[in-house]
Symmetry: C2
Subunit: 67 residues, 2 copies
């Protein structure tokens, strides 16, 4: 399992206005989030390398998110 804490994901769906949330809805959103995070992070790593750095900085994340 490579996602985030299920309880946290569920809480965020509830905070978005949901009365009830099915278990597979939580798992699916968690998967989508993990994919989104991986893609964005990979792009941020590329940007950092392109800039000659080994450290991923906040500005790399910001630039990756504007893709």
């Amino acid at each position: 399992m490579t996602g985030f804490a299920r309880a946290r994901v569920k809480k965020m769906i509830k905070e978005a206005g949901a009365w009830r949330v099915s278990a597979d809805a939580i798992d699916r959103l968690n998967e989508i989030l993990a994919d989104y995070t991986t893609n964005l992070a990979k792009y941020a790593v590329e940007i950092a390398r392109h800039s000659g750095r080994k450290t991923v900085k906040e500005s790399d994340i910001i630039l990756a998110a504007t893709k």
Copy 2:
């Protein structure tokens, strides 16, 4: 703080190939993820309501993610 566990976010950035990650990079990605989750979840809640349901199902999440 409304995001995910920092250690988890950091691990995912490292798994994406980062050598090092600055603390503010982790926090920024966490913020972006929280916004993304909230927006997607709100849309899924709207879709469920539109379908006359009080329960957010996996199919609502999938449809919301194709937006």
